[in-house]
């Protein structure tokens, strides 16, 4: 079982939800499913229709009887597709022997009594179970899902009829003048021969279309119910999630775990490992060992006990008066321990061997370190060099980190770019050279010419220029009007600040809201310009 490859979202679903998932599976893998369906179904249906041209009902019944044949191909495709290995049409047909081999004839004759046909099919075909084990398995699986499986079959039969009558209705819509006649024919035939009269070639065709549409959904629905039941019984979803957890944490914990295992292996539970080697394995043997089937679906995991019943039986089997849970645990533990021993004794995990060599009798124990001194001097020099380089690298990294932290904390740390006052802000030229000598006077002149926007812009540029170039306010290229106001707070008194606020508000309205202020307001701003930029400074 390669659970990691499963292409379904695993969680325990209630019955109908599982069926719905099956329907989505049929949609998701529609192309391979219907490709196989038509490849298998069309020749069979065609031959039978031609053979029983005179009695189309018999042809339809034979096609119906052979449904298990096509179902198996559909299930084959689905069972591989859900594990991310959608087989090609050629592969599927090539696997015909395996697909049809497992008791096809039996299933052709037992399908009539099997109302959970599509749900039970995986047990036969994928798990390869037969006879009594298969019956036990079906009973176990069917405990919670049986009603849904039967419901699925019944509903799907009705869906087929819906399609048939729907197609009938559709054809009637397009036939403009249907003559409904009834005539009494003096029919001398025996009654059974006239039975199929109402069923003609048209009905056969509609039936073929109906099962072609519904059957893949039906098989997928049953298969999804089967999968869902196994998800519940064997907690596939938990297995997958735990595997992901283990993978996520394994890299950093490999070392630690190796130590833990080593400790476990040696010390206090040694006694547990000394059980007889032929202790009964806890996992039941796979009943389908020799049978053909799909390894993906073999119950090679320890077979789960049925929900609570079987748990009780297991517990009852324990000797009375003992701690049953402990006993069960110990036998499992022994199994695992023995297996772990075996794996750890493989060459990959290293091995022990005896080495004999000469030793000076009068030597002290601490001459282990001496070989280093025997090495040529050049190695010592290289080592020293590397050590110095490493210290330098560490120092550089520390300095870089401190610098980065300082920049982060002191957001406006001086950078060479920001220290030179920008000549442009918001797309406006603010270097003193671009401005007229007397800014308010020039603004008034523009105002007189009716250019209110330009006048306001000039005042604003003048103010910015003053702030940046005269008062040395530091401002980034990306600053907004609000930033200007905020930065100016620390360097301006109350009156100039109020003026700046009024100016910026007016400018913002003009520039962004396209609301031209009244002439008087701009005039007032011109008059008060001196509050921010004293005349002698501006001159």
């Amino acid at each position: 079982m390669e659970l990691e490859k499963i292409a379904l979202a695993l969680r325990p679903r209630q019955g109908w939800e599982a069926v719905d998932l099956g329907f989505r599976m049929a949609m998701r893998w529609a192309r391979p499913l219907w490709a196989v369906w038509f490849t298998v179904f069309l020749p069979v249906a065609g031959v039978l229709t031609l053979a029983f041209y005179e009695q189309p009902m018999i042809a339809a019944m034979l096609v119906w009887w052979l449904k298990p044949l096509y179902d198996r191909y559909l299930l084959h495709v689905l069972s591989r597709a859900v594990f991310g290995a959608t087989p090609s049409l050629r592969d599927t047909l090539g696997a015909s022997r395996q697909i049809l081999g497992s008791a096809l004839i039996v299933s052709l004759f037992t399908r009539f009594i099997d109302i959970s046909r599509s749900f039970n099919l995986p047990v036969t075909q994928l798990e390869g179970q037969r006879g009594a084990p298969a019956r036990a398995r079906r009973r176990l699986l069917g405990l919670r899902a049986g009603a849904f499986a039967a419901g699925l079959t019944i509903v799907c039969i009705h869906f087929e009829w819906v399609v048939m009558y729907g197609l009938h209705g559709l054809s009637m819509l397009f036939e403009s003048d249907v003559q409904w006649t009834s005539e009494v024919v003096d029919d001398a035939r025996p009654w059974w021969e006239s039975l199929g009269d109402w069923w003609g070639l048209t009905e056969t065709l509609y039936y073929f279309i109906a099962i072609s549409l519904i059957e893949p959904f039906y098989v997928a629905g049953g298969f999804a119910l089967y999968l869902n039941r196994r998800v519940m019984l064997e907690a596939w979803d938990i297995e997958l999630a735990l595997k992901r957890l283990a993978t996520r944490h394994s890299t950093m914990l490999t070392l630690f775990f190796a130590l833990t295992v080593a400790v476990c292996m040696t010390a206090p539970h040694q006694a547990l490992a000394d059980e007889p080697p032929d202790a009964e394995p806890i996992a039941q043997a796979d009943p389908s060992e020799a049978a053909p089937g799909d390894t993906r679906f073999r119950t090679d995991a320890t077979i789960p006990a049925e929900d609570s019943e079987a748990t009780e039986t297991t517990v009852q089997e324990c000797a009375e008066g003992e701690d049953c849970a402990d006993q069960i645990y110990q036998s499992v533990d022994t199994e695992i321990r023995r297996e772990a021993h075996r794996i750890l004794s493989e060459p990959a995990f290293g091995s022990e061997r005896e080495v004999t060599r000469w030793k000076r009798i009068d030597a002290d124990d601490d001459d282990d370190r001496e070989p280093v001194e025997d090495a040529p001097a050049i190695f010592g020099a290289i080592a020293e060099l590397l050590r110095v380089i490493a210290y330098l690298a560490i120092a550089a990294i520390v300095v870089a980190i401190i610098y980065a932290l300082l920049r982060f904390w002191l957001g406006a740390a001086p950078s060479p770019v920001a220290s030179a006052p920008p000549a442009m802000l918001f797309g406006l030229a603010i270097n003193p050279e671009s401005l007229p000598e007397d800014v308010p006077a020039a603004a008034r002149a523009l105002l007189a010419a009716g250019q209110r926007r330009e006048a306001l812009s000039l005042l604003y540029r003048g103010a910015l220029s003053n702030l940046v170039h005269t008062r040395g306010m530091r401002i980034g290229r990306g600053a907004t009007e609000g930033d200007v106001l905020r930065l100016a707070q620390s360097i301006l008194g109350a009156k100039p600040l109020n003026y700046l606020r009024a100016l910026i508000n007016t400018w913002s309205e003009t520039a962004y809201a396209a609301r031209l202020p009244e002439i008087e307001r701009i005039d007032a701003l011109c008059s008060d310009y001196g509050l921010l930029v004293p005349a002698e400074v501006s001159a």
Partner: protein
Amino acid sequence: MLTPLDTAHRVATPEGVELNLRVAGPVPRALAWLIDFGWRLAALLVLAFATSVMGEVGTAVFLLTWFALEWLVPAVFESRTRGATPGKRALGLMVVRDDGAPCTLGPALTRNLLRFADFLPLFYFGGLVAMLSNRQFKRLGDFVAGTLVVYADPATVARHIPPLEPKRPPISLKPDEARTVLDFAERAAALGPARATELALIATPLLRDHDPPTQQLTQYANYLVGHAAD
């Protein structure tokens, strides 16, 4: 890798909450329809007897009530708080709008009146084909009304975790990993001891001492649900 196949339809609300709408497919919806059809039929039969003694007026009453039962009453059911006709409620389904909001009268009326389109050409053939050809199993009425039929019960059942002495997990767990540990502790008993141990042994990073693995994970679960450590 492709996202795993699921029937859940994710909707993100403006509050940043992700809703998982588990969309219902044709089989449960057909059964819900059957139940609804059954009670409507029963009601009509009773009505037919009751109005048969009233002559021509009775016929008028019968026809008007029939119309209401067929087209309006289901819409009223679906626009109420539970969002479900009796049949849908029996199957655990409900109608919601595409964004997971409760179904209001307008969409409910739309989807019910358009049932006629889904019925065409006969026996809901159109509706069946529509449902089988889109991921949210919408019939034509659902498309027009912008509605979904989803499973109503939010899958939150109170957890039953066997009480053991709580123990803090040795590593920090992500929320979904913590949920896995809780799921395991809850379902371990039903899995049987052998399978439970097999599963617990997968979680190698969590296993630290010599206690049985199942017991260790259950202790973590007790810690995660906040049982007192006494």
